[in-house]
Point group: D2
């Protein structure tokens, strides 16, 4: 089969690989029909995640059809349409038993990281019973694939960790796909204001059309000042970091109100400076999280019933065989005005 393979910092290739087989009796093999590219895949290509080694098939998002079923799998059969969760969960270990699937002792985020991923014609999914979600045959794959990672991530790491509630002033730093998914899911909790910060006017315009009540272009270096003025110096109740660099984290810690919540969503490659000399007395809560995907069933039901329009994030579409070009486009997000790119496989 064909797959997108990582060959060390900066190198990727669409090439032939062995079709995956069942290894453990709890595995299934899924024929991928729709996949997408995540900002984290770009981080891998920059060499930021050294656990990913040469030869790895990338990708942790996808929708597909079950092709082969391990002997111990009880919930799925060949031909079933499924959503692949970016987080693999055994359902048995102490982390899974308390709902922290992200740190499953034999799972977690492994797809396209420590085992081969979904940017391929086929992918092996371990712990299938607890890592896949059944889909109705007629479900819209472009919408549903947004639930592999980006929507649960925005909701769990951003909105739920940030404890967004009615009446809050929420600032989201970064209007890329992940910031926008935080925006769309923050609206489920009816905050009074959602302030979106980015350096790209196009993305801010999209944010506004998605429901941001204020947008701030931070390229003039005055985002903090602007937000503090807007809040009459009170600061924001929730600041969601959706970029992953020191400068955007710094905005969060500078605008947070006493008693407020900073929810980190961004994947960071370097330490940040935390101003405890000021914040020690400010009663703030700072959270980090790898998505646990515990909200996937709720989000899936919201998408299938039409209450959540997850497809809004899709900006570009490619055939899976054009994934090298899709990566080029995605890597030029600002210029190409990309949010999420859909990769559709027509192979059978």
């Amino acid at each position: 089969m064909k797959a997108l393979v990582y060959h060390g910092r900066g190198n990727r290739n669409w090439e032939d690989k062995q079709k995956p087989k069942i290894i453990d009796a709890t595995d299934v093999v899924v024929r991928v029909t729709t996949t997408t590219i995540c900002g984290t895949d770009l981080h891998i290509l920059k060499g930021d995640l050294p656990a990913v080694t040469d030869g790895r098939i990338l990708g942790h998002e996808g929708v597909g059809v079950i092709d082969e079923v391990g002997a111990n799998v009880v919930s799925f059969h060949k031909g079933d349409k499924v959503l692949i969760s970016c987080v693999t969960s055994c359902g048995r270990c102490s982390f899974c038993r308390k709902g922290m699937f992200s740190h499953c002792r034999s799972g977690g985020w492994i797809l396209g990281n420590t085992i081969d991923g979904t940017q391929a014609e086929y992918v092996r999914i371990p712990h299938a019973d607890t890592s896949l979600y059944p889909l109705p045959p007629e479900s819209d794959e472009e919408a549903v694939v947004m639930l592999s990672d980006i929507f649960p991530t925005g909701l769990e790491c951003g909105v739920l960790n940030g404890q967004v509630k009615p009446g809050d002033i929420v600032a989201i730093i970064g209007a890329g796909p992940i910031g926008l998914s935080a925006l769309l899911t923050a609206k489920l909790y009816s905050p009074a204001e959602i302030v979106m910060v980015d350096m790209d006017d196009n993305r801010l315009e999209i944010a506004r059309s998605f429901g941001a009540t204020q947008v701030v272009n931070s390229s003039n270096g005055k985002a903090i000042e602007t937000i503090m003025t807007f809040t009459n110096s009170a600061g924001v109740d929730v600041a969601i970091e959706a970029v992953g660099i020191p400068a955007t984290f710094d905005i969060c810690q500078s605008i947070i109100a006493p008693g407020g919540h900073i929810a980190n969503v961004g994947v960071h490659g370097k330490p940040v400076e935390l101003h405890l000399e000021r914040l020690w007395s400010q009663n703030i809560t700072l959270t980090t999280r790898l998505v646990d995907t515990i909200t996937t069933p709720m989000l899936l039901q919201a998408v299938l019933s039409g209450r959540l329009d997850a497809k809004k994030l899709v900006s570009h579409r490619f055939d899976l065989t054009d994934i090298m070009k899709a990566y080029d486009t995605f890597a030029n997000a600002a210029k190409e005005r990309v949010l999420k790119v859909i990769l559709k496989s027509t192979a059978k």
Copy 2:
């Protein structure tokens, strides 16, 4: 009257000051009978808290007797014995209405900070109805004065923010008075292990006698290694920072388990480096807090009924007139084996 007055970085003096008067109708004036010195007072003397200006009477802890009562005070009368809270609360502003007294819009930590404090023969207490607690005449002042600040701080900023629960492994970095108060109040929630970290064997010995199940002397630079070995590389569920310097914060972020809680209690003078490049995916929660003193009524009841032995933290006793010497002793905590010093006023 006499008072301990701050005269800029490194300078303090026991000198004559005007006896305080009622300014607002919600004030009372308290004749101080017992006070103590806080680690924060030493921070002020180092010049770490620039809001404190030359001429300020220090101190935010105390027990005393009401001497004069403002016209609008309803709960207290001349002659009543009272506990002074380190945090002043109006009971009316939006912060007070949600229990965040520490950020009261006309109060918070102001005593010995932005208004004159308790290390004096008399002190003016604003918002008396909501900032003092009535004491039975026979109550033990040495025990009760520990509830002005140190016990609610250990409990609220350390134990409650850290969400200590039965079965947890808790590490407390710093076995000074504040770390020991976190230790004593952590026991209210029955953690499986309390690991105490300090560089002073004397303090670690005290910690052990107070209920620490493990003690680690960090002076060899191997505290992280020792704790990770002790936890079979799992890390701790709760790490309480009770010192306020980058090195001790760093221990906390290095030993925290996935899903764990870092509760900062220390007063920091400088930023710290936060390793988000590793922690972004570790589902941790980091909290800061200026004590709200919402637990004071519960702690007071526990002390008065004999269930909590708050006096354990008292190591030295002085007459209030010897406060200059008491400061010298307190500043040499390790050598003098000091925990909390009691200052008793015999003046009438």
Copy 3:
């Protein structure tokens, strides 16, 4: 002045009463400009609340202008426009300090209950600093008066106690004003379904126009069956009781899913039968609550900024002098298609 006075079971009269005066220094007297009638007022007239005695002026909702100010009041001045909270709170007692204003030791629900209320030209408000909310002069009184009681009640007793969250199936039993306020505030948390149950098709139609996704007319005695079918026998996540009689409580306990929440809002005059022989193993939570009005500031901001259309509940308007007729209309809610009646005073 004129006031609506209770004269024992079934008797009310619009009559002359002494204009109220300041009694405690923390009181204000408010000239009432807008008030309304609550279902609880009808309960009083039925004799269900024996604490209300002959001669009492009824009413616990209102907007007005400060007419006289007690010596110790700091936040309000003569001429200020204010919202009167149905719950009086001292801000100092142990209940107020933990946010349970409903059980304030010298307040709680006392207006139109144990002291004279708001259905009068003037009303005395104790603990004014912590029981009134300032209003901009131009605010819409008809919308704002809905925040005296009914909106915080629907939100706190129904939605917050019921822990409504995104994706939930919520059933609200009773589509009167209180049930409709629960419906409107439940939407703040984006449940998947809101099922409204009532015996009055007119009210169900209104519920649908307010956002109910399902409506069930229970007059055929098949509401339970209908809801269980609709939920594929799973039951509902949250059942909000908004009537106050055994029959409607019974629907709640019959449709609740394992792990679900029954939130009682209704004022009950008799005991109910609780089926613990079935529910003991169903992991349910049942709550009761007298509104604490802790959400009033948030709701007020939502109304003033136009995000919450509280005025939707207003169906009829009268001059305050016509309050006897307004009561007649309100008591015939079904026939008159009444939700909330506005009573406007034009007196100066």
Copy 4:
């Protein structure tokens, strides 16, 4: 093999039954080495639980050794010593995924209820990977078997649902084994007072020796009066119902303070009368729960490390072959001064 078999209301027999076999590949068969009798078994014998049918082997508690292992079981091997949980959990269904194992769609409380149980020489355990806990070979079976049901039940249904916290006044109605387990686990949260209510002075004496601070013999019908006097008419913060009859439930609802929690643990055979005509305004929370056993790992660690003395509840010991006599004794709990009876099997 031999087993204790239910033969309809009032009838039980120790008789020959077919040794269980693996049915599903996720099953194991356990050779029972220690089991015990639960109050619920007596309820079954009274005919209170009609789901239990003639021919059923009773018992849902036990420790044993794995005898046979299904093909899909990954965590256990023949010869392993294990704790059997009273609740069977698949780990995969929506209830298990949110930690509500009690309502597992293919599990929950089924042992000795809808499938054969543990009062036998052998028992089949479905979903073994997620329904058994590994034990060290040397662990004390008498202590550990108390974690099959009674300790997690007291903790989860009583203490956690009741939200017991430091400083609380807790009343536990019923000083049988389940009430005593609530008492022992309530102490993990350091309440100020634990008031134990029962009609049996012997049990109250045991309660006192286990840490109850007050004991009340309710046989004079004055328990409510006594407790209200003791609390200065304030009532208790938490009332734990550990009997399961209307009279004891009634004590709970009569002594609960505004804002308090009633946690039902008892298995009820009849409805109760809930006084909503008084409680509607009291801000109370009433919970029911079939134990989820989510606290079993924590409790197990506490028992194995010696921090929790679970064996305290063991009052009598029998050989498993004497189980008919053990039932007679257990059914005469008051006269025989029974708490929990240990049944030990010496068969190989």
